[in-house]
């Protein structure tokens, strides 16, 4: 959900997303960790420019650093390679696997930063409207998607109640996955019923694909400039 306001947030959502996708493609096309590092700094810069202060940035990214370390360790400790640096039990760390792990972890961090930059600066409704107008998505899917977003807070609330019910009724799982059926089934049946009622309500409001639009996101000059800058940046990184 959108939390930040900045010029970056003003961009057309679909254009903004495509620009970030271009960077992600460029990222998986390279095996060079210096280039990856350049992309990472770009992503961090984008996040800082998008409205987060350095303090917010550190606080919000701490949970992801664990993912970063894990990715690195998985690749480093179980990777292939001949030049063994350290080995213990199942662990077999080679210089190749360390390089590989480092690259993948950096890549993952860049992905996380780029996605966060998108999510924190994009309003869901505007994004979906932009999908309709710029990406020619069918309004049927688009409005269904918007209605679905409204489900999420209710789902969170329902999971909370279901867990409390299990506690109050003294059900204690003996193994993980035990609760899957008793939590998943009511959740599922409720969601289906709710989706059905919602569909009826929207249909009753004469929903049709032939319609006018209250909000029409357009592609402006700044969006073109943004795309050009991204392309220039990518070519520059690969050329140098």
């Amino acid at each position: 959900m959108q939390t930040n306001v900045s010029p970056f947030a003003e961009l057309n959502p679909v254009i903004k997303g495509s620009g970030l996708f271009l960077i992600m493609f460029a990222l998986i096309a390279t095996n060079d960790w210096v280039k990856t590092l350049v992309f990472l700094s770009f992503a961090i810069a984008l996040l800082l420019l998008s409205g987060w202060g350095p303090f917010d940035f550190l606080k919000r990214l701490t949970p992801y650093s664990l993912l970063f370390l894990l990715t690195f360790w998985m690749m480093a400790a179980f990777g292939k390679g001949t030049n063994t640096l350290w080995s213990f039990g199942w662990f077999h760390v080679t210089s190749e696997s360390v390089a590989h792990g480092w690259l993948l972890a950096l890549r993952m961090a860049t992905f996380v930063c780029l996605s966060l930059a998108f999510v924190t600066t994009t309003d869901a409704t505007r994004f979906v409207m932009s999908l309709i107008h710029q990406a020619k998505l069918s309004p049927r899917f688009a409005y269904g998607f918007l209605a679905g977003i409204r489900f999420l807070p209710q789902l969170v609330e329902e999971v909370r109640v279901l867990r409390q019910v299990r506690m109050i009724r003294n059900v204690h799982s003996r193994f993980p996955g035990d609760g899957f059926l008793s939590i998943g089934l009511p959740l599922f049946s409720r969601s289906i019923q709710r989706a059905e009622r919602m569909a009826i309500a929207l249909e009753a409001r004469h929903f049709s694909a032939e319609r006018t639009y209250y909000e029409v996101p357009v592609v402006q000059r700044q969006d073109i400039i943004y795309l050009v800058v991204i392309l220039l940046f990518i070519s520059l990184v690969f050329w140098l």
Partner: protein
């Protein structure tokens, strides 16, 4: 306006028709569809709206002809929205009608003013109260400029103050815009003064079409025994109600028997951390006491219940049977304490009704469990999944599952919310039986009639604090407090007061 000719509707996979050869003519004015739950009211309303047989897939014969466009307002405001802000939500209706963009802002503003929500367009829907949400949903329906308005229990999911406001609003708009209204509604005293025609449905057939001024005085007792909703006062007022009639009998409240139990729980200076509002609650409760929690939305009723149920971290003293609760293990604590949530369908763990009862009443004998099922009228559905039951049945089962043999305290969060009169009465009977067995009941509610009829004691919450702790009759006498906390005096209490005044006016010879 609408003519229904020999309409039959059957849901796929069911043997029995929901509507069976129904013919009906709806004229200008207001028509009320009346019947028990499951009588086919909602299906008929959907058919009138033209939602069957396509949007809602059913097997349908017969015809429905309409002269005019239709708008439908549903029960649950949450399930009618697809946008995040109020402006966009109304715009969605306008978009569907292909209204040009340049006209939209002005129309949205006019509609918001019409339903009394003069808020900025960017106001998030999530920040509105239940009553406000339903008014927004009404605005979104009116944006379609219908000439026929169909209402499916529009006030069932909102609190009493909001109910009166919404009904008054709907009928004011009807007058201004000359709308034809067909509605389903359980709050009969609120809507009947506006109703021109009552259509009575029983088991999928129309058994009566009558003017409400004739129907209720005549068939009151008969309707009541059939379990069909009846008004408390209509067509009379408190002053003109015949004292020996069936309606007056319904307003007689048995005087509460004072319970003299032993002390069960003691709470002192109990508080929760923000954003939960509870501050400095201090009270004790006896065994076998029925305590009701009252207060406006957000005043802290649910927070107090959750704190008593150890679902929220808290500060202060909380003792159960003389022992601090933190010295009970969770398992031991919930052997003594039960909790009934607002959503009954989230409270089931097993795949069949029977298994639910077996699990929650493990200690009881088979005979006792069978008797319990019988008492709850669930024997015929005992092999079904709890999720497949009707809401009323789910409510009864959800309360039953929380009543093991050893429960001393039962916490209930608005268990009658959105239920019809019959379900409410059954639930209350069930709870009363538990109370007689010595269980202490603490129940949050908005329904003042229940307070008058069942409560031994009332706690009124105001901004997280306990503003009143005492007997219901003391509360009803404290008019300033009632007004401050948006509470209404129950009809039964008002009726007794009127009678008392009348007696005093009789000259003494």
């Amino acid at each position: 306006m609408i003519t229904v000719d020999d309409l039959s509707i059957r849901y796929p996979g069911q043997i029995k028709s929901v509507l069976d050869h129904v013919s009906l003519s709806i004229e200008h004015g207001t028509t009320l569809l009346l019947g028990r739950s499951g009588s086919g009211k909602t299906t008929l309303l959907h058919a009138l709206a033209g939602l069957t047989p396509e949007t809602i897939e059913v097997e349908q014969t017969g015809t429905v002809t309409r002269s005019g466009s239709v708008g439908v307002l549903f029960q649950n405001p949450e399930e009618q929205f697809c946008m995040e802000t109020i402006g966009r939500e109304i715009a969605f209706s306008l978009e569907n009608r292909s209204i040009p963009r340049v006209e939209m802002d002005e129309r949205i503003e006019r509609l918001l003013a019409l339903v009394g929500l003069p808020l900025p367009f960017s106001t998030p829907i999530a920040s509105l109260s239940g009553g406000m949400k339903q008014r927004l949903a009404l605005a979104a329906v009116l944006a379609l400029e219908p000439t026929i308005l169909l209402l499916d229990e529009p006030t069932a999911q909102i609190d009493p103050i909001g109910q009166h406001e919404l009904m008054a609003l709907i009928f004011r708009i009807q007058k201004e815009h000359d709308l034809t209204i067909v509605l389903i509604e359980h709050q009969l005293d609120v809507c009947l003064p506006y109703v021109d025609q009552v259509v009575l449905l029983e088991d999928g057939s129309i058994t009566a079409t009558a003017d409400p001024r004739d129907l209720f005085p005549q068939d009151y007792k008969e309707l009541q025994t059939k379990g069909i909703a009846v008004p408390s006062l209509y067509p009379y007022t408190l002053e003109t109600l015949p004292i020996d009639g069936p309606q007056a009998a319904r307003l007689q409240v048995p005087s509460a028997v004072a319970t003299a139990g032993s002390s069960l729980l003691h709470v002192a200076a109990l508080s929760t951390k923000a954003p939960y509002p509870l501050t400095d609650a201090t009270f004790s409760m006896q065994t076998g006491e029925w305590v009701m929690l009252l207060g406006a939305n957000g005043s802290g009723k649910s927070t107090l219940l959750a704190t008593l149920g150890r679902l929220l971290p808290n500060r202060g003293t909380y003792q159960l049977q003389g022992r601090p609760v933190h010295r009970y293990s969770r398992r031991r604590f919930y052997e003594h304490v039960g909790y009934v949530f607002q959503q009954p369908d989230l409270q089931f763990l097993k795949l069949t009704v029977e298994a639910e009862i077996d699990w929650s009443h493990r200690a009881a004998t088979n005979v006792k469990r069978a008797a319990l099922l019988e008492r709850l009228e669930l024997t015929s559905v005992k092999q079904q999944s709890p999720l497949a039951l009707s809401t009323g049945q789910q409510r009864r089962l959800s309360v039953a599952t929380m009543l093991g043999q050893t429960k001393d305290l039962l916490l209930l969060d608005e268990p009658t919310f959105g239920q019809d009169g019959l379900t409410t009465r059954r639930l209350m009977e069930q709870l009363q039986m538990e109370q007689q067995n010595g269980t202490t009941l603490v129940m949050a509610t908005h329904d003042m009639e229940l307070v008058a009829r069942y409560a031994d004691r009332v706690l009124v919450m105001e901004q997280g604090r306990i503003a009143f702790d005492g007997r219901p009759s003391e509360l009803f006498a404290d008019v300033p407090l009632l007004e401050r906390c948006q509470l209404q005096r129950p009809l039964s209490y008002q009726f007794q007061e009127v009678k008392r005044d009348a007696n005093e006016r009789v000259p003494v010879r």
